[in-house]
Amino acid sequence: MSAASVRPTARDFVRFDGVSVRYGTGTSAVQALERADLSFAAGDFICIVGPSGCGKTTLMQTLAGFLKPTSGEVSLEGKVVEGPGPERGVVFQQPALFPWMTVAANAGFGPRLRGSRDVDARAETWLRTVGLWEFRDRYPYELSGGMQQRLAIARALCGEPKILLMDEPFGALDALTRERMQEELHAVWRRTGMTVVFITHSVEEAVYLGTEVVVMSPRPGRIVDRIAVRFAREMAEDGIRAVKSDPEFIATRERVLSLIWQMGET
C-alpha cells in the first residue's frame, strides 16, 4: 500500500512530543507537565495513574485541545492538535450534561451540531447500548448518577470520535455502580475497537481495564513508567472476577502501587 508510506505508523496513532505545560509566571509558576513523551496505537486502552498533582489531567487536556502546551506538541494520526474537536470525545468526572435537553437530545447533540441526517438513529443506537433508551424523553436530572455518566459516555460515542478521553469518569460513583460501569465500558471497547485514554485514581481499575498503564509522578508532572498489561484483552473470556484473583494481576497491581508509594515518600 502506497498510502502506508505517508501515514504515521500504527504505533503513532497518538503522539505526545516533549509536551510541557507551565501554569502562571515568575516565582509562582507551576510546572504541571515536564517534557512528556508518549505514543500509542489505535485500539489501545491507555490508563493513566498517579497521585494528585502529577499532571494526568493536564496531559489529557492537551490531547483534548482544551489546553495549549507551553512547549512541545500533541498529534492525532499525524495531525497536530490545535483545539477541541469532534474526533476526540471527552467524558468528565461530573457528567456535564445539558439539563435543558432531554436524554435523547443530549445523546444526539454532536451529530445534530453537524447537521447529520441520521441523528435520531444514531442516538437510538447508543442509548440502547448503554441501556437508556426507555428514558429518552426524560431529563438528565431525573436520572441516577450512574445513568447520567452512561448518558455522558453515549453522548461522547454518538459523536463518532476516533478516540475517547475519560477523566476519572467513575470517580463519583458508588462501588457497585462503578464495577458495572467498568464492565459496560469494557464491552463497548471490545466491540468497537475504540481507542481509549482513561485517567483514574484506582490502580486496580487501571490494571484490569488498560492494555497499558502509564504511571506519572508529581512536581513536576512527568511520566515515570509504562507497563503493558494483558488482562484487558483476556477479560472477555475470563470475566472480571477471574482476572482479579490471577497472581499476575496481583503482582502487576503491587508493582504499580509500589511505584506510586515511593513518590509519596520523597
Binding site: G85, P86, G89, F92, A96, L113
Partner: protein, 257 residues
C-alpha cells in the same frame, strides 16, 4: 413547638384577619380621623365610586391600563436590552469593560435623581415615563445575564466544544440556556423595580395612571381613594410577581436540580 401547631396557611389567614380586625376596631371607634386612616367600609365605597365614575375623566380601568402599559413597555424594552447587553458582557470581555462602568453607575442610582433630566430631554408625555422605567429595568437585567453567563459550568462548554460546537453554537446551545435561570430571576427583580418606579414616573405631569391617581387624590385629601389605589397597586404587583414566578418554574424546569 406544641403538637397542635397550626398549619402555615392558617397562621397567614389569622394574621390577615387580625390586621383587618385592628383596622375596623381603630377606625369604627372614632379613635382615628378619617383623613389619616379611612375605615374598610370607606375604602370599599371609595373603590365603588372609582369603579362607577372613574377618576377625573377616565375610568378606573383606563388608569390601571395606562399604568400596566407603561410598566410593560418599560419592563420589556429594558429587560430585553439589558439581557442582550448582559449576554454580550458575559461572553465578550471587551464589551464588559466597555459597558460595566455605566451599568454599575446606573444600577444603584435612584430613578428620582434623573427624573428632571428626563423631563427636560424628552418632555412630559409617555416617552419620558417609559424611558425612566426602561432605565430602571436595564442594569438589573444586564448584570443578571452577565453573571448567568459567567456561572455557566465550564465542563459543559468543554463538552460541547469536544463535540464539535463552533463558538456561536456554544453560545446558542450551552451559554444562553445555561444563563437562563439567572436571566429569569433578573427579570423578576427588574419587574419589581420597574413597578416600584411607576409612581415616580407618573409624577411627571399627566392625568392618567394609577400612580398619578394616588398622588392626585392625596393632594385633595381623598384618603379613601389613596387607600383603594394602594390596594389595587399592591394586588396587581403581587399578581405580576406570581405570574413571573410561575413562568420561571415552567421555562427553567431544570433549575436547582
Amino acid at each position: 413547638m406544641s403538637k397542635a401547631a397550626l398549619p402555615d396557611w392558617a397562621i397567614t389567614l389569622l394574621a390577615a384577619l387580625l390586621v383587618l380586625a385592628l383596622w375596623v376596631g381603630v377606625t369604627s371607634g372614632g379613635l382615628v380621623r378619617d383623613l389619616f386612616l379611612p375605615g374598610p367600609l370607606d375604602v370599599w365605597s371609595g373603590l365603588q365610586d372609582l369603579l362607577d365614575e372613574g377618576y377625573k375623566g377616565r375610568s378606573l380601568f383606563e388608569h390601571i391600563g395606562m399604568s400596566l402599559m407603561r410598566v410593560l413597555a418599560g419592563f420589556l424594552t429594558g429587560a430585553l436590552a439589558g439581557t442582550a447587553l448582559g449576554l454580550a458582557m458575559g461572553y465578550l470581555r471587551p464589551v464588559d469593560a466597555l459597558a460595566s462602568p455605566f451599568i454599575e453607575f446606573l444600577r444603584p442610582l435612584p430613578q428620582l435623581a434623573y427624573l428632571v433630566l428626563l423631563i427636560v430631554w424628552l418632555g412630559i408625555d409617555e416617552s419620558s415615563k417609559i424611558t425612566m422605567l426602561f432605565l430602571a429595568a436595564l442594569p438589573v437585567s444586564a448584570i443578571a445575564a452577565r453573571d448567568g453567563v459567567r456561572n455557566v459550568v465550564p465542563e459543559r462548554v468543554r463538552a460541547a466544544q469536544a463535540l464539535g460546537a463552533s463558538p456561536w453554537q456554544v453560545f446558542r446551545y450551552v451559554i444562553a440556556p445555561g444563563a437562563l435561570p439567572e436571566i429569569l430571576t433578573g427579570a423578576r427583580l427588574a419587574a419589581g423595580i420597574v413597578y416600584g418606579t411607576l409612581i415616580a414616573a407618573e409624577i411627571i405631569a399627566g392625568s392618567s395612571g394609577i400612580g398619578w391617581m394616588i398622588l392626585d387624590a392625596g393632594r385633595f385629601l381623598r384618603s379613601d381613594y389613596v387607600f383603594a389605589g394602594i390596594l389595587i397597586i399592591g394586588i396587581a404587583g403581587f399578581g405580576i410577581d406570581r405570574l413571573l414566578l410561575w413562568l420561571e418554574r415552567r421555562v427553567v424546569h431544570w433549575a436547582g436540580k
